[in-house]
Point group: C2
């Protein structure tokens, strides 16, 4: 049998995307189920590949087949190609299997020439319409087929309007358009040295070749490379008979959603214009009518339309975005596709479709983009107000939400004015743990440096607070209390607004809209919980975050950092004295001062969490982070410690490090200063005992040791912890179950996870640090070149946002395998920033982790993503 | 058959170490080959294990067997245990399979009591000798068996001497010693509540039990744990009949080496004393005679002795260290073991033994401790002078050799005074690339901070220059030009001396001895070269180092860093302007200034290396390392660049990084500033072309890209390099073969080595950085806690000195496997500091690398270690 390169729409179906492309298969499918689609045919992707095999020319075989199908189309439509009286006009559209920007899009009105235009005018009794269509056709064909710069046509159009004092295209008469057609044809002649092709068949073959050629233009190649789309799948071409919504008052065109794309309500949502083309609906010169008003114009058409939307929804089992045209009172569908929707709508539609029996819960969950859920949990800017706002700069969308406030440049000042009721935006070069209080007080945080996992970004996400980070175009001068952007200076007290979901920084105040959580949301989350295997915990260091996370469905705390607790104003003096102590005795004295406060921290957190598991990490950052830098602060501290300024400054200096990220931190602190670990262990355990007794609960604390690289480090610190606990329990004659586990965040820990598993009750991957060390990227510095890396396509994505599966991920997989080989029931989780990223969550599900832990506001996202991962990998 | 727990020496042999322990097997072997060993028997290690099984008691079965063997011993010696007239006296010694300090060592003269002492006196006609022996026995037995504090005996001895106005023990008469024996027995009675045991059999059983018990004393347990010796192998006990060198003038004792342990000369080397005990030879009160003088005393004995040494050498096929005793003109051997020797001797002996036909070349090579070779390549301190020297401090033995000089605290000053002929020791807090010239000018380098792979250590080793690093007890004040140690201040211009092999810092000037390389050395190296599979290259950045390395046998350059070239006084201004350029054009202008200088660098190196391969690494450190810190320097630079001081300072500030180790460096520089890579490539290739033409050589440069973490980085930079080379070769119409490879020093590169291998002509492991990132240790900071880690036994060794085989090594193995899977003939080397460490070299051999590259002075060590690795793994 001869190979078949062309299919009528009526010969195909939705499953033939490989051969017919996405658009072709879709048109075929609608035809197949009996919907009124203007007839047409598709030239296959195989014809495209043949085109390249035969030196970028259409083979005679294919040409012949096209002609055959053209005849079939003429028969079907009763119109004829090149016929003066009843001309067949067609659109030519590209359509690969995967929708691909960069390729040729559309040519309309093909088949028009100096003769058929007359037929069209005659047939429609509308000369202006006919010449306008011709003029548009020459322009489109000139642009995409003949490669003539489009401005050459547009200049002539503008000139024509200007000469006549017109504002709008619509003011041009048939005569004007006739003249333009002449001028356009002249340009073509001048540019390509030939007359504009008058033979419709020639027009068609040229257009088909242009589509095939566009498959290999540089933009399309780059897009495929970047998206890892194979080069050899080719594109199809769709030839469809034209229908017109602008032939007269019995014509029209419109778009509609089968449900409300903003709210999800099950009610047709759309608009149309009579005697208009698609672009008129979008242009907004005439006010479109709502879809219900079609009933007034033609109850029959409206009824037919409603029926069609029902068929489409039932067929595609999802809300559809439909384009339609009415030509001479006849309804045609030009396109249907799954409609884009807000998060709110996505959730409601998914839920409704399940209740309507159209889809299963699993499919409903897969329909929701988990990343979109952020919209539901954070305030957003009022859409109208936003249109007027001036964008000052664009940084990284580090933590979602929208906020307006007055600019302040120090945490102290921010805290102070916020207490007086002012709305504050904290602006910093970058933030550090000392800024925590100021960040709490602020509505939002803006930084000039740092990436998606910088301190500001991580902490803000934890707080559910809006943050724009790494805004490299602004220069912040904290001393002068100002920032400069594009040569203009902005001072303390001026209003700005931040959109943490887009990274945009606006001048002035913009009203925000508060989010509301619907019953649909709760229902979807419940379904997700029923399905998922991964548990979802939260990263929380304080009772407020813990409570928020529980509200969002967190099943425990996967990471309770203890360092933020040390920065509290009341404690920092004791912390500093402890660090600068010369002897263990002295250090223990200050630690004893800290013990009751630290214990109180944990009690408050336990109260919020009930009997849910709480993993508390021992002190992690290098001690110099807690020390003062300012001369005055050092002086004060020296006085209260009764040492000389010089001596204290010397000590502080000697604690500094070249690469603090790889420095004296994590378990290395507990090994060299075991007394710190002893104090923290006491606080964790005594708090657990007291709350357990008070509430009648069984609290089972999980103590986590950071930055372990070798099993001996773990053994050493574990012994300190276990000895301390044994002593407490013996003294109190009480029993308490607890776990001692380790972070896996140093590559060596992953490589030797079998040895480490012997000593660990659980593993928790710290994929932030693991990424830093595996890639050799300092997340505080890498922002500078990572952006250039993304531009140069060296990195597909920021490895701190979504886990690098082939590098860092290989270590994670290896550690899971080695760890479970040693201890088959080893509990393994992840508490890095990746715990809230859906793609990463899918990976963690696949490699068999037990839980992910993420910031409170990411908990719902993680719950949904975990369920999706389970469904996909079933 | 009943289990046998006791063996006569004549029943055993050298292969029975498991059962008889090392010493027992050795005594058995000597007995077996007919050497005059005092007869005795060994109680096996199995008896020791039984002892622990039966509640730390000797079982009746073992006791009975001991008695049986005692009788055999009596028969063999003709002496009898507890016999008044002809008493058998024995020594009791522990002896595990592996020699183990911390266990009980020796009890002599066992069998003496109030009666047998009389017999001994009568038989030897020497009452003083008999009571002195008895007195010593009670003291030893009291100490190690009865656990009586030894000072209680020593006090009495001192008192006795003092009361009599004696200085030496030898002045005590028989009467004094009789009195002492009485007093000693009283002490025993007082301390243990019982009389000193008079029954020799009881003495023997108690001593055996004491040996077995000592197997589990805390010191022995700790030693086994640290050295990973199993706890269940147990110790044997050796019971040997006593011979005495101090019974009269026909008695004597001595030690001898079968060859000269300092020079290796094949000539007996040793000394002896007549009428003396072993400890008298060591104590140095009487001057011992040289072994040749034995000929004068008894030609027959001397002849016998020479004969025996020949038998021993032939038997053990190595130089022996022998202890002997002459009792009543009869020669006895008490011990033989392989003798310790200097590197010089080790090489000569190994060579001689091969020529004598005693051993094969392979065995000869294994006999030499490759680490010891350092002694042969560097000056050492005069041994006598060293004895008088005062040790000021002890740091890390960072680069071997010995040096004296005046202290200077800045590279500039050091360079200046060195030009005037002064010998200089450069003392710095730590060094940085700016100090290179000063380091060259200095005799040695002393730093207060930094570890074995700190800048100072690495660079000094490269230069073959003595360096003591990380001397944490000294406080250096570079501004005040002084350093303080133990409260005392030392100023600029004072003399100190450094021993880079021990890490000791001495006050004042100590004369040094220059090394000399012998023909033996050349011969051994030739054998090593014939055998080894691993190639040995060198790390060298300049013609001087390259020449040194070639002299030492380097087969190429494995790592030519280019950053040191940038610090040169003439170039640094252009380098700085290049870095601070605002535009690519500006940067290219300054790079053009650098090009001819850089080209000259490479030409000089090629000239030294001939056609040997030279691997040149593109610029690696973060650019801020090249920028000035001092206000004055910044001002000067700002003027010459015609920008404002503030602006320049701002720019410099903005380039600083939190963690430069993980920062904007390595290939990241080439990606963001491709023009730097272009300039370096031009310099490398044009230099190669010019020298090739000039000399008629075929130079094949190897360009190495640092810090690659993903294949896309490699692709990006490789393209820059290849494009640049293509252009040069096309312009010059010339052909040149070159390689483009990558460092594997980022964990991710190792994890994705299969992908990376697709683009790389070779791999070179940078195990310094790989260790930093895999462990999460900053080598500039880790010194602070790594020492504590070693003390707490968390680390067995500094992972920067010897590769961590189970963690970092796993990545190396994985990368080799993945790389070769993709490209089976991929050339793989290592150019980190571990390239000169014998243990690491053995590992690199095993995992299949093609070459190691190390600093010039380590090349001979690497050649030998590579051969040893091949022999062992054959």
């Amino acid at each position: 049998m001869l190979k078949k390169y062309v299919y009528m729409f009526s010969e195909g179906n939705a499953d033939m995307k490989d051969l017919l492309g996405g658009k072709g298969a879709n048109l075929a499918e609608m035809t197949r189920i009996g919907l009124p689609v203007p007839p047409g045919f598709t030239i296959t992707t195989e014809a495209c590949n043949l085109f390249y095999k035969t030196g970028e020319k259409l083979s005679e075989e294919v040409k012949k087949e096209i002609y055959t199908y053209l005849e079939k189309l003429e028969k079907k439509t009763g119109k004829f190609f090149g016929n003066k009286i009843n001309p067949l006009l067609v659109s030519v559209r590209s359509g690969a299997k995967i929708s691909m920007p960069g390729m040729m899009d559309t040519i309309l009105n093909l088949g028009l020439n100096d003769e058929t235009v007359l037929g069209l005018a005659e047939k429609t009794q509308n000369e202006r319409f006919a010449y306008d269509s011709y003029r548009r056709f020459i322009q489109m064909f000139g642009d995409v087929v003949l490669k003539i710069k489009i401005y050459k046509f547009e200049n002539l159009l503008e000139k024509m309007k200007k000469n006549n004092g017109f504002e709008e295209d619509t003011q041009l008469t048939a005569e004007h358009l006739k003249e333009l057609v002449k001028q356009f044809k002249k340009i073509v002649k001048k540019e390509i040295g030939e007359d504009f092709p008058q033979d419709p068949k020639k027009q068609l073959l040229m257009a088909v070749e242009a589509v095939f050629s566009s498959w290999n233009n540089p933009r399309a190649i780059a897009y495929r490379k970047y998206n890892e789309i194979p080069n050899d799948i080719g594109t199809a071409v769709n030839i469809q008979s034209m229908v017109f919504g602008n032939m007269g008052n019995d014509c029209g065109t419109g778009v509609a959603f089968t449900r409300n794309p903003s709210t999800g309500e099950k009610k047709l949502f759309g608009e149309f214009l009579m005697n208009a083309q698609g672009e008129d609906v979008v242009a907004g010169i005439r006010t479109p009518k709502s879809i219900e008003q079609l009933k007034e114009i033609s109850p029959k058409l409206y009824e037919q339309f409603v029926k069609i939307t029902e068929i489409l929804e039932n067929h595609y089992r999802d809300m559809q975005d439909i384009e339609f045209t009415i030509e001479r009172s006849k309804l045609y569908l030009l396109q249907t596709r799954t409609g884009k929707r807000t998060a709110l709508a996505a959730i409601r539609i998914a839920s409704d479709l399940v209740h309507e029996g159209l889809i299963q819960k699993e499919e409903a969950l897969l329909r929701i983009d988990s990343k979109q859920l952020d919209q539901l949990l954070h305030p957003t800017f009022d859409t109208q107000a936003l249109k007027q706002a001036k964008v000052l700069a664009k940084g990284l969308p580090a933590s979602p939400g929208a906020a307006s406030g007055k600019v302040y440049f120090s945490a102290e000042k921010a805290t102070k004015v916020a207490k007086n009721g002012e709305k504050v935006i904290l602006v910093r070069q970058e933030t550090s743990p000392e800024d925590i209080e100021g960040m709490y007080a602020a509505q939002g945080i803006l930084t000039a440096r740092g990436g998606m996992t910088s301190h500001a970004a991580v902490v803000a996400r934890g707080m559910g607070k809006c943050c724009v980070a790494g805004t490299s175009t602004i220069r912040v001068n904290e001393q002068k209390k100002e920032f400069i952007v594009a040569g203009k200076t902005y001072y303390e007290g001026e209003y700005i607004s931040l959109d943490g979901s887009t990274g945009k920084v606006y001048l002035g105040k913009i009203p925000t809209v508060e989010p509301s959580i619907s019953g649909y949301f709760q229902e979807i989350m419940q379904w997700a919980d029923d399905i998922r295997r991964l548990k979802v915990r939260t990263n929380a260091d304080n009772p407020k975050d813990a409570a928020t996370a529980v509200k969002f469905g967190a099943e425990g705390i996967g990471l309770c950092r203890t360092e933020h607790m040390f920065f509290n104003e009341e404690r920092i003096p004791a912390v500093r004295k402890m660090i600068l102590s010369k002897t263990r005795q002295q250090r223990e004295k200050y630690l004893a001062e800290l013990l009751p406060m630290q214990k109180e921290d944990f009690k408050e957190i336990y109260i919020q969490m009930g009997e849910r598991p709480v993993t508390i990490r021992l002190l992690d950052p290098p001690l110099h982070e807690f020390l003062p830098n300012q001369e005055q602060e050092i002086k004060t501290l020296a006085q209260s410690m009764e040492v000389s300024f010089d001596e204290l400054k010397d000590t502080i200096e000697s604690l500094k490090e070249f690469n603090p990220m790889l420095g004296h931190r994590g378990c290395r602190l507990a090994i060299t200063y075991p007394e710190i670990a002893v104090m923290q262990t006491r606080a964790i355990i005594e708090a657990a005992i007291e709350i357990s007794l008070e509430k009648g609960w069984k609290i089972k604390p999980e103590i986590m040791i950071p930055l372990v690289g070798s099993v001996k480090e773990l053994q050493n610190v574990k012994k300190i912890i276990v000895d301390t606990i044994d002593e407490i329990l013996q003294n109190k004659k009480i029993d308490l179950t607890y776990l001692v586990g380790t972070m896996i965040e140093v590559p060596r820990a992953a490589l030797t996870a079998d040895e480490i598993a012997k000593e660990a009750d659980f593993f928790s991957f710290g994929t932030n640090d693991l990424t830093q060390m595996t890639y050799g990227f300092s997340r505080d510095d890498a922002g500078k070149f990572l952006r250039e890396y993304e531009e140069k396509e060296i990195l597909d994505q920021d490895p701190f946002s979504s886990i690098d599966q082939i590098g860092v991920g290989k270590l994670v997989e290896l550690a899971v395998k080695l760890g479970r080989k040693e201890k088959s029931n080893l509990k393994i989780g992840i508490c890095g920033e990746h715990g809230g990223d859906p793609t990463s969550i899918a990976f963690f599900h696949k490699v068999g982790l037990d839980y992910v832990s993420c910031s409170p506001y990411r908990v719902p996202i993680a719950r949904l993503a975990a369920a999706q991962a389970k469904i996909i990998n079933k």
